[in-house]
Amino acid sequence: MAALCEAFTLCGLGPAGGVGLGSGLLALEPGADPDHVLLTDRGRTTTLFKVSDQKPLGCWSVKHGQIITCPVVCNFETHEYIAVHDNKVLRIWKDEDVNLDKVFKATLSAEVYRIHSLPHAEPLVLFKGGGVRTLDVLLEAPQQEIENVISDEVIKWSEAFLESRQPVLIFVTEKDGDFFVYVQKPKMRSLHKYKLEQQELCNPLSFTAYIKKQIITLLCLYSSDSVYKVLIPLQQSSEEEEQTSSKSLLLNLSISGSVLKGTSFVVLDKDHVAVLGSLAASGEESKECLTIWNTKFQTLQASKELPLGTSGQLWCYGEKFFFTHGKVLTVVIYKCETSSLAAAVGKLKDSQTSDLSSFVNWNTLGDEELLVSLQSQQSVALKSESKMTLRSKKSAVANIQPDTSTVGQFLLSIKDASTAAVEDQLRQLLSKAQMPDFQATIGCIISALINRCKTDPKFYPRNFLVQMIQKGELSYSLCPDLMAVALEKKDVHLLQICLQRFPDIPEEITYACLKVFLSISDDYLERTDVNLESVISYIDIEPNNKEVKTEVVENGFNTELEEDGCDVTGMKETHMMDSVEFCPVGPQKAALLNAVLHSAYSETFLLPHLKDLPAQQAVLFLRYLHYLYVKCSEKINTTLPGILSPTISQIMDWMCLLLDAHFTVMVMLPEAKGLLSSMHRFVRAQVRLYSELNKIEGSLQELQRIKCQKHSQAYSIEVLELI
């Protein structure tokens, strides 16, 4: 949790610096020491403060008539101070210099917007025309020509970073209500221009940015009391003239009816921003206050009222806020810890490992989130790589809303457009794939589609649904009604895919699927499109192949030769033998049943439903299971060939389950008798076989033992090598 701690006054301010927008200070910049700040007022003075001692260490002024036009910065490398007065005159001095008139001076050819000083790098000078020079280059030839990058745009804000030892400069310009973002890498001589997506009726007021993993995150405080996030990748290959960068809502500055009118803000860490602004509840007088917001949970974490008013400027260096409060410069210390839901409920673990199997891992949100949402903005090709990440984070953040303008519109259009139109739109949407959170968006879309399906029986965008499920990013819980609708429509293919893909299907639905699969006739199924991968390698699809095998020899045991005391007539017996030899269901049905066998279930919850299965269907299913069991036992490793084919333990579990659920029915049912006796015979043969194997194992073990004993015989000649 973030918290605001103690506050103290750093210094009083002159008449120029004070309350109200447009007044205040020119800027506050960090000094050479972490504890130092450089204060530049709007006049001609700059002062160096030691914050912890609350006292000035030095104060420098330019001559009367001159005015400092650009915040004084400290060159961290040389510990020199750099100032620009009258837009074009550069001054550089050291701590021991007293009179600014006597220090180094250089007159430049263009007007300077700002100087950005970076640790371990040469300061960057940003000219009002958008040109950028490093200080050393500039000082070599102060009068050098500075190009004009921006025509008649006005720089609103700029910031510099160091990314992999390369200085990166970002600045935002405005022209006629349009905002543009420029990213410059002076060393690479690269310049990229982005157009900031327009927002109706509101303008960006303040900007801040941070860089992480080659991505600049630009946060914009809009006049609509919201903070938006714009992701700008640094490694941009295309040299397009102008790209529009979309923004996503990060934070809504409203607390229970009252709205914070922000004026400036800073980023504290990946989850927290501090906003200075005035809180206006309806019908009440607005109060200025300093607030810390958690962007992950959209909550206000700390706030401090500032009754004496501020200049609307906020700086933050080294866990301290600096702002003018009344007639003084106030310092507020804050604490900000990483917040997570786990921490909030007291279940924070130390390890930050992401578990792929779980759907929501609150701990791993954050950095990845950023990456993911960026990736989803990139090309679709990238997406396949990031699938796993996406999966782990699915439905992660309900608070991140998809791009409301397009998706929202689409959701609206789902309600009435025709199937073809919707599918078309969907295709467009997916190919565009610029949604910040693909998962959540898809969830929303599918829910909307399903709702439409429910109300409109004719509407059924089957292809899209299949496509979506096959992407493997959905789960039952994300779209609970999907399977219900599919069941209603008897869309067995969709159900099959769902059973194969969804990890969290309730037993009730599994049972419903089973029932539907068993009830549909094979003739109908032959005409449907079912994935036959799981059966193709052990069921003869061609009916005329059935006569190839004449005798079934399972594991070397001929079931026919087994003498048995069951009172089954020979007729039935042969009939049953046939049924063991040939699959009792069609390949399509078998594939569907395999999907059921494959799905996860819990016995306790499945058994009550399974009892409702009609007797005929139960017998059919049991017959199929028996067939699978026999097929399995043919192979020495007791596995069926093929992809997604059921394992022997799955078959056995379902067999037991089915017999448990329908024991009395099976006993009573005349047509089950043959099946049961055949099964019994087979199982008995198996048991006998395994007991034989047991014996062999015993003898082999004995042999092994004897071999060991041989070692300790009374006399032996052995070879011993000594080295």
Binding site: I717, L720, L722, I723
Partner: protein, 684 residues
Amino acid sequence: MGEFEVHRVRFFGLVPAGVRCMAYQHNGRRLALARTDGAVEVYNFAANYYMEKVSGGRERGGQGWRLFGAGLSGDITEYDLERLRPARAVDGFGGPIWSMAANNDGTRLAIGCEDGSVKLFQVVPGGGVQFEKNLDRQKGRVLCLSWHPSGTHLAAGSIDFIRVLDVHSGRTAQRIMVNCHVPKSKKRECVVWSIAFLSSGTVISSDSFGRVQFWDWERGTLQDSHTVSSSAALSLAVSEKEDSIVVGTSAGATYQFQLLPVKAGGQEKRWVRTKPFQHHTHDVRAVVHTPTALISGGLDAQLVIRPLMEKVQKKGYDAALRKFTLPHRRLVSCARKARLLLFQFSQHLELWRLGSTNKTGKDGETLPLSRMPEHLLQLKSKGPEHIYCSCVSPCGSWIAYSTASRFHLYRVQHEGDSISVKKVPGVPKLLLPAYQLLCASDSGRLFIASDRGSVHVVQLLEPGGCKHLHTLRPPAGTREAVYLLASSADGNWLAAVSGDWEVHVYSLKHFKHHCTVPTYSCAVTALAIHPTTNNLFISYSDQQLFEFSIPEKQYTAWSRAVQNSGLHKLWLERDSPITHIAFNPKNTSQVLLHDVYMLCVLDKSLPLPDDSAVLVNQSTLKQLSEPARRRQLHAFKICKKFQVGSPLLFADLLDERCLVTVERPALDISAQLPPPVQQKKFGT
């Protein structure tokens, strides 16, 4: 270095006899141990528990120092520890003697007899004992005796009761019924197996009910009773300070009791059972409590020395648990040329011919046998006396053995597969007793180690005769007998070690004393003369190795180097002595050494390992590449194939590529022991 064809022999069916009783002499740090077959052994604790003396006994033994023995024959026997044989015997006239105890100053000996009498004997300073008087006689054999430390009273344990006898008057001062509180209906005979009399007047008894009981002898009351076992508590020993006792039971467990204050710092003390140990599988018939260790001996033939860790100051040789099952003597002799092995049992000898193979193989492989080993001969010794030593000549045609009083020489004739044995008549009578026999490498002479440091040289004559040539004696003379011999291959030199650990070298050409190896304060465990260099290789019980050049009469340079750099720490910490040394006839630098647990080929041409090196490195070396191997090589090439489960009795080099080892798997020994007391095992 190369591959050896190892003949692993496991058919030597030696079963060591169980331990019957023990006596510990504190000043000399020696332990006398009598086995059930009547053999008496003396272990020198100062010399790393080396079994320095063995005396072939007759039946059952007893105890004392001077060493006295008594047995069912009814005689009290004094043993001559220098000549290693019974010296004098006196009849006790009380039937079989069940117990014997000497008083604290060693002037009187009390015996408990079958007829229930306790007799006092005076120990005569010159030797022997003299009958003093009979104490009060009561019916029932006296199974155990204990003197009060002051020597005024004797406690005697019988069946069902304990008596305390006044030595001066000879009267019974107290009679305690051991199981008087047991109801009559359940009454069984209660045998008091062992008894101890403390100076405080407490009598401690251990009985067949598994109880250890503490009695006040004057009042005849029971002070304390501990049941340690469901079977009998057989033996009992008290520490010198009388604050600790050790009890051995027939279940193989030993228990320590300690006299401890009831409260810390309080005055009142009680006997508390503190430590149980289970080192034996059978009856623990004898226990001894030394100041630093509990020693127990059982019918499973094991002697276990369990140090009391709280009494041991530093980690050293004394701080480790020791177990001895097999004697430190050589019971196997090998005819290298004829490839015969002679096994010595207590009453007979066995001659075996080794098998052979015509295949070769890689390391670790077992080769198929082309000929099985063959049991050629069994020679039974007549009379009750144990065979003391034996030898077979290198050519395999002579076998000699000696008992305490007789020496036998046999001529063995091999005619194809058949074998005939003929006793050599006219063996010189003056030679006895013999402690060690050795045949010269050309089988022409037999050396017989005898008492007073003398070695007899006997010429073996074809086709079957012998002639006494000479008797070698040390120039200064000694009272101790010779117990180890070594002769050189060229027949010029003979080295003999006597009980005072002096090594004398004699010239056989001139039958003259040649030199004496500088005395080293430890027992010699094995020695051998190198066939080509005539260097005498000696191993001592503290695991030191010396090489002494006989022609130059000084230690060799290698020996000095070993002493300078010191042997490896682990080598010195081994707990069984080297019992045999052999040389590789083809490689002068290689020496074969073995103890119970390992076989070592010492290559003198390689550097000695320092303490940081891995001593047992054969398995590591086998995994290394050739150049890496060369860096890791050191002089000791130890083969530990013969682990604890299968102790190594004997190892010898038959030729440069052929080794013979005689192992005695511990499992085989225990299989031949009588079944132990039935123990309830869980689940049976």
